[in-house]
């Protein structure tokens, strides 16, 4: 194998592979990225057996071939090089990477050890709108724990209907639900659980590509195609919890906040919250909400927000981080908070959101 690529081109692709390769190093080949050069193109491929990414890179291939090279080391080297042409030449058991007056030799691993990846069948392909999908991923991925042994909570439920897409994630304490209306080209409804890593990597790919995404669910794998890049993900096997039932319907005490005001108040007041629980209280009375906190170690804080409210007064307590997680991903000027009482789950929503429906459910804390 022998080829020349532009630094900027290969760097952009290698960067996307950094999140894919396996970090624990239990199987050495999974730390490597496969270079597959034909006379017409260079294909790159990496996987940790849960998620795989394949992409293309422009370059001039003078001698076709296949090899595997440590993804992290190569990325570090390429990043450190000046913006110029990089020569990649296969040697016995190694690859020579050179540019300008820099020359290096990196050990490779046998290409035959690299796992074979499932291929999409192109039978039932859905078209997912770029903007909608990006909204959904950004607004739900933070609610997945990633380390819960209730395996189904390590992913987000993705529901595809002919006329809409829904993504739901929960860590058991709060839940994020986003629905986007769009024509998917599908005939029937289907649902899968996406691993957290898939969502994170998908989020990165969406910020590097503007077009719509082709999606296909195989028997055990999911395929997201974004231009020349394909993200392959294992499906999480299992029953996602009956999330519809924890989204309350009858929360009739509705408050509306200026998003920035609320964000700033919660951030400031949370500075004096208990460091472990991060609890902030919302003391709701006619015409105002006092956001308060207290820490036995440091003291207490209070900030008043004027709201249009005439219902029964009540006090409810939330983990400040859970509230901020929501506020950080919405972009509308106004957000609403719908309450039932001190102990039942609360619902936050962006007001007048464009193109999506976002429902965020939080369980209040005990006070």
């Amino acid at each position: 194998m022998e080829l020349v690529v532009r630094k900027a081109e290969i760097l952009r692709e290698l960067q996307l592979f950094q999140g894919i390769v396996e970090r624990k190093n239990t199987i050495p080949i999974l730390a490597n990225v496969l270079f597959d050069a034909t006379t017409t193109e260079l294909r790159l491929l990496a996987t940790d057996l849960e998620v795989a990414l394949s992409s293309r890179c422009e370059g001039i291939v003078t001698k076709p071939g296949t090899l595997t090279v440590p993804a992290k080391k190569l990325y570090e080297i390429v990043r450190a090089l000046p913006d110029t042409d990089i020569r990649i030449v296969e040697e016995k058991g190694a690859v020579r990477v050179s540019a300008d007056r820099f020359d290096s030799r990196i050990q490779t691993l046998p290409k035959d050890d690299f796992p074979t990846l499932p291929a999409p069948s192109h039978k039932q392909v859905a078209t997912l709108p770029h903007a909608g999908l990006r909204q959904m991923v950004a607004k739900t991925q933070f609610a997945i724990t990633g380390e819960d042994t209730r395996y189904f909570l390590n992913g987000a439920k993705f529901i595809l209907k002919p006329g809409s897409l829904t993504l739901v994630a929960t860590d058991g304490h709060r839940l994020a639900h986003v629905e986007v209306n769009c024509q998917t080209g599908l005939k029937a409804e289907s649902g899968v659980i996406l691993p957290k890593k898939t969502l994170i990597e998908l989020g990165k790919l969406l910020s590097e590509f503007d077009g719509d995404v082709s999606f296909e669910a195989g028997e055990n794998h999911l395929f997201f195609q974004l231009g020349g890049r394909t993200l392959v993900s294992r499906m999480i096997d299992g029953q996602f919890p009956a999330y519809e039932r924890v989204i309350p319907k009858g929360n009739d005490k509705i408050l509306e906040f200026d998003r920035d005001r609320l964000t700033n108040a919660v951030k400031r007041v949370a500075l004096l919250s208990n460091e472990r629980s991060r609890a902030v209280k919302f003391e709701v009375t006619t015409g105002s909400v006092d956001v308060t906190s207290s820490s036995s170690e440091f003291g207490d804080a209070r900030e008043q927000i004027v709201v249009d409210y005439t219902g029964t007064p009540l006090t409810i307590s939330f983990n400040a981080q859970y509230v901020l997680d929501f506020l950080n991903v919405v972009e509308t000027d106004v957000v609403s908070l719908a309450l039932k009482d001190e102990v039942s789950q609360a619902v936050m929503r962006p007001v007048a959101a464009d193109g999506y429906n976002y429902t965020y459910v939080i369980m209040p804390m005990r006070i």
Binding site: G172, R245, N274
Partner: protein, 361 residues
């Protein structure tokens, strides 16, 4: 959580071994420590010689004697067991402060960080076994693993005088070979139910239908599920959790003003709240203690939703004053304490004590 190094150390036939150590005539003989068969005594510990006859602890002594007519029955002498135990625990605590006793002869040690700066749990286990033998003449079996559940299974793997290590990379292989009834808490009945559902190996739990699993083991399903993945993040807790906290004050001259008493009670309730917060606990019960001028003492309690909110604890404590004669009799002592504590998970930055959404499970 980074990989921990947990040891489970279990003395071999502890009471019986102490007896055999102290009385040479008992060595090599089947010995059972326990109560008199004629008085419905049970076996507290059986020597390995007795175990070959099928004698085991918790069995009735009468049955033990039927199984092994040559059994030597010894009445327990807890003072000597306690002395041996103290020696052993002192050795443990010289390695790490994170020693969680399960009984006189059984403990978990978290040696992730240890006084010997020893990176390998197995080396610590080996040295401790030698030290125990030198100091007490007794043998212990040890298990070394990344968590408590695996360490406990490991120590039981080879007994007596065993040492079993389950390195993190071997956990999966180990789990694959484990029958589901290897778990404590899974007795023959539960194991039978699980087997009927096609779950014979622990790893079968992973793929089991959650409904079926819940049917067999009830609320332990989630726990079992964690174990089936080799996961157990329970910390090694060196001291048992406190059951209550409180403070009281005796006043130089008896209090007669109810408003003053209320202020005193509120201050003590605030102290209790601060303590709860520091300990990451919630209390369901607030107790008020009142000693009148004539030394008669009463207590009044109030239980409700667990809280550590100072205002709500103070209000609850103050309202208890109304259920005493404090308004009409002079008071020399007041006390406020909190009980029925509920824990929060102190190990995670995200509070696991945070209430969960009302799922159906």
């Amino acid at each position: 959580m980074p990989t921990r190094r947990i040891l489970h150390l279990d003395m071999d036939a502890f009471y019986a071994s102490v007896e055999q150590r102290d009385d040479p005539a008992l060595r090599g003989k089947p010995v059972a420590v326990g109560g008199d068969a004629a008085r419905r005594g049970v076996v507290a510990a059986a020597s390995y010689e007795a175990r070959t006859f099928g004698v085991h602890s918790a069995m009735s002594m009468a049955r033990a004697l039927r199984l092994c007519p040559s059994l030597v029955v010894v009445r327990p002498d807890f003072a000597r067991y306690k002395a041996a135990s103290d020696t052993i625990f002192a050795l443990y605590r010289a390695v790490t402060p994170l020693v969680e006793p399960l009984s006189l002869d059984e403990a978990y040690l978290d040696v992730t960080e240890n006084a010997w700066a020893e990176p390998l749990g197995v080396t610590i286990a080996k040295r401790l076994k030698i030290q125990i033998r030198e100091a007490t003449g007794l043998s212990a079996s040890a298990g070394v693993a990344p968590n408590k559940f695996l360490a406990k299974i490991a120590s039981g793997w080879k007994k007596p005088d065993g040492l079993t290590v389950i390195a993190p990379e071997r956990v999966e292989a180990f789990l694959q070979g484990l029958p589901v009834d290897a778990l404590w808490g899974v007795g023959p009945v539960t194991a039978g139910k699980l087997k009927a559902a096609g779950i014979t190996r622990l790893v079968d739990v992973r793929a089991a239908d959650p409904e079926v699993l819940r049917g067999a083991v009830g609320s332990s399903a989630e726990w079992l599920h964690r174990l089936a993945h080799g996961l157990d993040d329970r910390p090694v807790v060196p001291h048992h959790a406190p059951k209550s906290s409180g403070s009281e004050s005796t006043y130089p001259t008896d209090l007669t003003d109810l408003a003053e008493m209320t202020r005193e009670v509120e201050v003590m309730a605030h102290d209790a709240a601060a303590w709860l917060e520091k300990k990451a606990l919630f209390a369901r019960t607030v107790t008020l203690k009142v000693r009148y001028g004539d030394f008669t003492t009463v207590t009044r309690s109030h239980s409700d939703r667990a809280t550590r909110d100072a205002g709500s604890l103070a209000a609850r404590a103050a309202s208890l004053l109304a259920r005493t004669d404090a308004a009409t009799r002079p008071v020399r002592l007041l006390g406020v304490s909190v009980h029925n504590l509920e824990e929060t998970d102190v190990e995670t930055s995200r509070p696991d004590a945070h209430p969960r959404l009302p799922w159906d499970d």
